[in-house]
């Protein structure tokens, strides 16, 4: 078999392997939001997420340590008591890129989340909850003793 054919075959096989997840993502209309994830300022990330107005809310619980020994792994727990919560976004103001993740709930998933994030330095963690076309926020400051972004 010629080299060219082997390459073609390989490319074909790769495309086939890649198909399922792309099909899943396409079927769900899920795209990676480049503009929001490359933003270096909170305002630009919000703009990237198409958020115009944000209202602080006491109905969002954010549990995070007051002081993190290691910024590479900071565990956070988020609960939203806001009716019809559709999505939760996590941002860290002083990280090189501020948007950590966007989590969209449906079909019986409760607006609750535990995950682990990186923090480059002492900063506020900001949570944005989407409910319908309204956005609510909560923040907590975490002191970082050793930076986790490298």
């Amino acid at each position: 078999m010629r080299r060219r054919d082997v390459l073609k075959l390989f490319a074909g096989a790769m495309a086939f392997v890649l198909l399922p997840i792309n099909a899943i993502a396409a079927g769900l209309n899920l795209k990676w939001n480049k503009a929001a994830f490359e933003a270096t300022k909170l305002a630009d990330a919000s703009k990237g997420l198409n958020i115009s107005a944000e209202t602080p809310s006491k109905d969002i619980d954010l549990i995070a340590p007051d002081r993190a020994e290691n910024g590479a792994i900071v565990q956070i727990e988020i609960t939203s008591r806001i009716p019809n919560t559709e999505a939760i976004s996590v941002l860290v103001e002083h990280n090189p890129t501020v948007l950590i993740g966007n989590f969209i709930f449906s079909n019986g998933a409760l607006p609750y989340l535990v995950t682990r994030i990186k923090m480059a330095e002492t900063s506020d963690i900001k949570i944005i909850v989407k409910a319908g076309d309204q956005y609510f926020t909560a923040s907590k400051n975490v002191v970082v003793l050793e930076n986790g972004c490298g």
């Binding site: 890649l18 792309n22 899943i24 090189p96 969209i104 079909n107 998933a109 409760l110 989340l113």
Partner: protein, 100 residues
């Protein structure tokens, strides 16, 4: 991928750990060379093939991403699956049946 799904009362608690380096592209190796950016961008969790949690991630999710989420309406024996794709087009999937 390591997964667990435990039903207590009405709520199923799902825990997931994905093995992935989640490189930011800003870290240097032992030779002072930048390690290329390599991170998971999209993750979808499904319950019996229906999406329950769709996620977009940046480089700020920790190495070997960890996740806990809660579902209402899942029954013992239901299938929960998680699929991801990273910025290099690599993919991974895992699934687990709901247990008590």
């Amino acid at each position: 991928m390591k997964m667990r799904a435990k039903l207590t009362g009405e709520v199923t608690e799902v825990k997931v750990i994905i093995s992935h380096p989640m490189e930011t592209g800003r870290k240097k190796d032992d030779f002072g060379q930048l390690i290329p950016v390599h991170f998971i961008q999209l993750v979808v969790a499904t319950l019996n093939e229906n999406p329950v949690l769709e996620m977009q991630w940046g480089t700020g999710i920790s190495k070997n991403p960890y996740l806990t989420f809660h579902l209402k309406g899942a029954k013992v024996g239901d299938k929960i699956a998680v699929s991801w794709v990273d910025n290099l087009g690599n993919t991974g999937t895992g699934d687990i049946l709901v247990a008590t």
